[in-house]
């Protein structure tokens, strides 16, 4: 029996025994190279469940909606850190969860496939993954070349929290600093950095897909939706888009687990993790903290040390 | 299309998004807790006053420039010359700002918008007006119109039932007092629980309606109030013999444009701003309960 089939049976068992009332996993989607989230309540439906490199969503983003319910979920390594983040912030209760943790070699990024082939994303019609290869029409690409950028320097292939696992442990990529893109940006002049930031956001639609795809963005009322005080106009003036993105990302300081779900969700292909990862890098550097590691740890902005970094103060 | 003269009486030639300028003339506290105020707006320009023709039940989009717009039913009657009144509860961004406005401030106005109470249908019939709490604004407009439009004799008996939690929350006290003095209208004021000094009725609107028992034969009823009040009043009306096509109400949904474009006030395929806000219960029966 395949490992996936074993997991399906386990999930069916959980559903039958009433350990969970709902399982959130992936099923095949209608768009090539992209699976779609699926919500299974009936044990007979578990055969819909799939796992491969097309399972790009971070399903932990759905968990706060089911607070108090008994829910099963499939998580990749990075997603599992988001679950820990949610546990840490009291958004989910461990006893209510049944977690299938996947050893994830990385998810495919259709944009990179398109870029490699030199065609627009929407022209990729006929594509599938076979082993280590992505086959698009007549052409074959190596899967590792078209993985999501963050997956290529991933250090969390293995799930950090789980009840059962799926897949073989993956060895971390030896090469590459996972913050190389941040260092590159830092090396630019202030004006160049601004141009980079502003140009990325020029494409923003303000659709809020990044916020809604993020497992840690679970505020009942986001600051952009507040009317008293009203911080935000729903206009796509550059400053409005910049304001939104600065504040949303900063609200994730010390909380972002770096799963990249926001970046993959963005319909405009904005490199949001280029900004968020600066916060992750700084939190690591200044406070030696990584989000989503330990559900018992105090998040870095809810604690302090008397000898914290103070050089920036006049 | 000119920048200076705009009204919506001929919508096809004008910009329906452009408000006319009104000057805030008078602000009146309507209830004891000061959360509801009436704003009397005077026309800044003579031609706007001439163009602005409305019927009870219609609404306007009221602007506080820099804050935004919000829709409010017109509380004055077309028979009251020189001003347009809106009675507004402090709730959101625009209403809070409006509550801070002072006489002399410039307020924007778009309208009148929407349909109105079915005056044609009402002629020759008894009129029953049932209101609860804050939702009495367009009902005031209707009652004043019925009494003052010079065609009082074209309507039958007028019965008004108006309830609030306590006496301090009944709006338009002067009007109510004046109506009570008249012989051509029956006014039943009620409060939920009795308080010392209150000599009128006590009880919830549905119960009072049952006591007053207006005659359903050849009558039209208009009910506006909190959803819970409407919910419990409707069975009473049915018991009294009112058919669904005899009962009208006014809906409030969130609106932006007020002219059937922006797509948020619809109830099923009907737009509250265009097809409403006044609907008969028979019409609402055909629509999903999305309000």
């Amino acid at each position: 029996m395949s490992a996936l089939q074993t997991v399906r049976d386990t999930v069916a068992g959980w559903l039958r025994s009433g350990e969970i009332e709902l399982f959130i996993g992936y099923e095949a989607g209608t768009v090539p190279l992209r699976a779609t989230p699926t919500f299974i309540r009936n044990p007979e439906d578990v055969d819909r469940l799939i796992w491969d490199a097309t399972c790009e969503n971070n399903l932990a983003a759905f968990l706060p909606k089911y607070r108090g319910k008994k829910v099963g979920i499939m998580v990749k390594g990075c997603d599992s850190h988001a679950v820990i983040g949610l546990l840490q912030e009291g958004q989910v209760i461990r006893e209510n969860l049944r977690i299938v943790g996947v050893h994830c070699p990385g998810v495919v990024d259709v944009r990179r496939v398109a870029a490699q082939l030199g065609v627009p994303v929407e022209q990729i019609d006929d594509a599938r993954i076979e082993g280590e290869q992505v086959i698009v029409g007549e052409q074959t690409l190596a899967l590792r070349d078209v993985l999501f950028e963050g997956c290529q320097t991933c250090t969390c292939h293995a799930p950090a929290i789980y009840d059962v696992t799926l897949g073989e442990p993956v060895v971390d990529a030896a090469e590459g600093d996972s913050f190389a893109h941040v260092r590159e940006m830092e090396a630019l002049s202030a004006e160049e950095r601004w141009v980079r930031f502003a140009q990325e956001l020029e494409r923003c639609n303000l659709c809020f897909a990044c916020r809604n795809a993020c497992p840690m963005c679970y505020c009942n009322i986001c600051f952009v939706d507040r009317s008293m005080p009203r911080w935000f106009n729903q206009t796509t003036q550059p400053e409005d888009k910049q304001f939104y993105q600065v504040m949303r990302t900063f609200h994730l300081a010390g909380r972002c687990v770096g799963c990249g779900a926001c970046t993959r969700a963005c319909p405009q292909g904005i490199n949001i993790r280029l900004f968020l990862d600066k916060l992750r890098a700084d939190v690591q550097e200044l406070y030696g903290y990584e989000a989503g590691e330990d559900a018992e740890a105090k998040p870095p902005l809810t604690t302090y040390r008397e000898d914290d970094y103070n050089d920036f103060i006049l | 299309m000119s920048d200076t003269h705009v009204c919506t009486c001929n919508p096809s030639t004008q910009n329906p998004y452009l408000p006319i300028s009104m000057v805030l003339q008078r602000v009146t506290d309507e209830v004891d807790d000061r959360t509801i105020k009436s704003f009397d707006l005077a026309f800044a320009r003579e031609e706007d006053a001439r163009c602005f023709k409305y019927t009870p039940g219609q609404f306007c989009e009221v602007s506080v420039f820099g804050e935004g717009e919000a829709p409010f039913g017109i509380a004055s009657s077309p028979t009251e010359q020189g001003f347009v009144r809106f009675t507004v509860k402090k709730a959101g961004v625009v209403t809070t700002k409006l509550h801070n406005c002072k006489p002399g401030d410039v307020i924007g106005l778009r309208g009148p918008l929407g349909n109105s109470f079915p005056l044609d249908l009402m002629r020759g019939k008894d009129i029953v007006v049932i209101g609860g709490g804050f939702a009495f604004t367009t009902l005031r407009s209707l009652i004043i119109y019925l009494l003052e439009s010079g065609e009082r004799d074209r309507f039958g008996k007028i019965t008004v039932i108006y309830g609030a939690r306590d006496p301090g929350l009944l709006m338009y006290k002067e009007d109510l007092a004046a109506w009570e003095q008249r012989g051509d209208i029956e006014v039943c004021q009620t409060i939920d629980r009795g308080v010392p000094g209150w000599s009128r009725r006590v009880g919830f609107v549905p119960n009072v309606t049952e006591e007053v028992a207006p005659n359903a034969a050849n009558a039209v009823a208009v009910i506006c109030g909190p959803p819970i009040m409407i919910k419990f009043t409707l069975p009473v009306m049915t018991k009294l013999g009112f058919g669904k096509e005899q009962i009208y109400t006014s809906l409030e949904n969130r609106m932006k444009c007020g002219i059937g474009k922006c797509g948020r006030c619809n109830v099923g395929h009907k737009y509250v701003c265009l097809d409403g806000p006044v609907f008969s219960m028979a019409e609402l029966d055909q629509l999903p309960s999305e309000y």
């Binding site: 830092e186 202030a190 930031f197 911080w231 409005d240 700084d282 902005l301 302090y304 103060i313 006049l314 | -």
Partner: protein, 150 residues
């Protein structure tokens, strides 16, 4: 705005968030001691530097402040024991983040000024004002800067 279009007449506008117990009292002392400092700061008094939500700072830049200063009690002196320690973590990240996104270093600054340090308050304000003056009018995140451009 008129004052940002004309370079010669331009005066930086600096918004200062001061904690009630130390820096605001320090500013008061600077005033009563008749110490000279640039008149470019507009002060908002808050109970504690810990009350300063990062959105206040970014919103200030958005609304057209050329610079933002946040000042609180020295470490260990917080009236609420640790408000400034929490604030320090937020500010460290925010300052580095804004600079990472291309906001010029110097636009957003932080200081500790106690109630007895009237002279120090004057120095801080002078330094921040001169830094911001050197940077010129704020261009990034500023809704009014765009209005002027158009």
């Amino acid at each position: 705005m008129a004052d940002t279009t004309n370079k010669e007449q331009w005066q930086p506008k600096i918004l200062a968030f001061l904690c009630n117990w130390c820096s605001y009292a320090g500013a008061d002392l600077a005033g009563t001691s008749r110490l000279q400092y640039p008149p470019n700061v507009r002060i908002i008094r808050l109970p504690c530097s810990g009350r300063v939500n990062p959105i206040f700072i970014v919103e200030a830049l958005r609304q057209g402040a050329d610079g933002v200063l946040v000042s609180g009690c020295h470490p260990g002196d917080c009236h609420y024991l640790a408000g400034n320690y929490y604030a320090r973590r937020r500010f460290a990240l925010l300052q580095r983040y804004l600079e990472y996104l291309g906001i010029e270093p110097g636009r957003v600054q932080f200081s500790w000024v106690s109630a007895s340090e009237g002279g120090r308050f004057a120095e801080v304000v002078t330094k921040v004002t001169e830094d911001v003056r050197a940077l010129g009018p704020s261009r990034h995140l500023n809704i009014n800067a765009v209005a002027t451009k158009k």
